[in-house]
Symmetry: C2
Subunit: 376 residues, 2 copies
């Protein structure tokens, strides 16, 4: 993997870059659609490629490990082959899902034991095991195994958890460096900064993570319920420490405004289920603000979902029709709204890149963030 | 509407025809995908047009009447405008759903009172009201209001119900003929033959229906649980009576074998939820037989769903991946399987038309029906 910094915004910390992977290049800042179980919900891979213009998608290690299971993914030749996505892939470490989806779990120094949310079966994730699993899944970028602390989280727990995440990182790096990729292309391991919303912990963690000098760095444990201002404060502190020459990935973020504000602080990569999950509930992100398509005001609005869009479904279907589909729980409603939101997120990132290239990002960002959060 | 008989198979009653409507021409025999609430579940209109190559789709009057409601559909300018399907549309009369979906209903000479399955609200469908509703929905082909008897059904009930369906037909025709289409193009009303599985009733009903000399005729009350042989026997009796110069529509049928056998008896039009409903449960119809993709045998079959297909998704995704998606209840699984089954049904109809044109339908049909029902 290679990261090239191509431009910097004169009035913010925003950066334009390019990540080269074995499965293609990624222009940053980038938003990565989430394909939890190897599929971005309600969207065809061909639509991701041609309509959404996704450059990289995510898979979730926890889900893929449980189903279809490592045996099937390995026999397929890795996730790219299994789900027919021949572009870059990133997998998380499974940590976040272990904490958020499982009812029974126990965190120890060795790792985490948990029960599957599917069948209750018991499993153990250790840093070493999670590296082996992500070797088998075969994503281009893989993540270190960490503990993602909740919000709020008391200082003492946040510090202890961060220290364990750092010890786990050492084990992750050792295992990663002593193993080989399985499918003939290289993988890159990104460590994760933790430390909850505590400035000194975030600083310590960012320094520790930077010291490993991996090919990219991530920030975890944000967008877990804290106020946006706290998130931005942590991002700013961490970005000032993480090396400029490596891509910075802010995990699990966020709204369109969150994306722009964090780009301004130096973030290059984002992922979030929001555009697809909220789509299925009828929330549409647009240039003019946020639409709840279930509202009665759209009942007889027969104008296209977005007539200025270059997405076929934004121009083909009306707001009134989409409202009817979402209210009737028709699958096509989820398809149309998910396509719309992902296309919008990717469009917003492309606009951000263009404005960074032009040196006009900061003013554009300040104008957009006033609008994007409005309910219309 | 105009129907042209273009060829007849020398060894069966199969016919090749063309129906001209205000929204385009339909080559028959034709299968019509079902878009219950104005959407064929899990399939984009653009996919229906370009990938499935659907010539006409169905809407269900009962569902559309309840949601989004007539007011919205009329404001949109009819269903074609509302759901952005600019090709031919057919609506059923709502009768079948009133009997199958509502818990509380009362059938009287005037019509049927029923409670909505959505919110329990009370409604009355009369033959006149159902004509008015279908004028508002604006499909190219609309159906008479009938009672669809269940199977089994005793002779006395079947006869009384049939007689009422005939009296309702008279009222439907009168209302239809004294009203005008609302959107500037003509609509055609098809009456429906009933009579359960009783030969003499089916004969009487077919004669009555034929005497109305409408632009097409339909057969209802079949594929409701009776053995296939009884269905074919009734189709044969009715097709011998219905005029050759009008299209014949067998409602709610069926499996691929059912389609071919009924084409051989003189049927021109079919609709059924089977290809989409069964797709969502993992049943795939193929040239070689029926696949239950949830079976363990497909777990590590990484070959394309159908490599001989010209459908993008049949070639892009593997059987193992589709199995994983269906088992994981991923929406993409429903999308892929629904596209596959509809594409297969429409391909089968195209093959049937080609074989009728070549005069080779009968032998081809006998060969295909041996294979299509096999479980593989």
């Amino acid at each position: 993997m290679k990261f090239t910094l191509k431009a910097k915004d004169p009035n913010s910390k925003a950066r334009l870059g390019e990540i080269e992977t074995a499965h293609g290049n990624i222009q940053t800042p980038v938003f990565m659609p989430v394909g939890t179980a190897g599929s971005v919900k309600a969207v065809h891979q061909s639509e991701l490629l041609n309509d959404v213009k996704a450059q990289i998608i995510l898979g979730n290690t926890y889900h893929l490990y449980l189903r279809p299971g490592l045996d099937i993914i390995q026999k397929a030749g890795g996730l790219h082959k299994f789900n027919s996505w021949d572009k870059p892939l990133l997998t998380d470490s499974g940590g976040f899902q272990v904490y958020s989806l499982t009812e029974v779990r126990k965190i120890k120094e060795e790792g985490v034991t948990f029960q599957s949310h599917i069948d209750g079966s018991r499993h153990l994730f250790t840093p070493e095991r999670v590296m082996d699993i992500q070797r088998i899944i075969g994503a281009d970028i893989i993540m270190a195994f960490d503990e993602c602390t909740p919000y709020p989280c008391d200082y003492s727990y946040a510090r202890k958890s961060m220290d364990m995440t750092h010890r786990w990182l050492k084990r992750c790096c050792e295992r990663f460096d002593e193993t080989e990729p399985l499918y003939g292309y290289s993988q890159s391991l990104f460590p994760i900064v933790q430390g909850s919303v505590y400035k000194d912990l975030r600083e310590r963690s960012a320094e520790k993570i930077a010291s490993y000098n991996r090919e990219g760095n991530a920030i975890g444990g944000l967008s877990v319920g804290e106020p946006a201002e706290e998130m931005y404060a942590m991002t700013e502190i961490v970005c000032n420490i993480l090396p400029e020459s490596k891509p910075r990935y802010l995990m699990g973020v966020g709204t369109p405004v969150n994306l722009l504000e964090n780009i301004a602080l130096g973030i290059d990569m984002f992922d979030c289920v929001m555009p697809t999950r909220n789509a299925r509930n009828g929330m549409l992100f647009t240039k003019e603000g946020i639409i709840n398509i279930k509202n009665k005001k759209w009942e007889d609005d027969f104008s296209p979902i977005d007539e200025s869009s270059d997405l076929f479904s934004d121009r083909l279907y009306s707001k009134a029709y989409l409202r009817h589909l979402i209210r009737s729980k028709e699958i096509l409603g989820a398809q149309i709204a998910s396509l719309h939101n992902l296309h919008f997120y990717l469009w917003l990132m492309e606009e951000a890149r263009n404005h960074i290239a032009d040196g006009t990002f900061y003013n554009w960002k300040n104008k957009m963030t006033k609008v994007l959060d409005q309910k219309i």
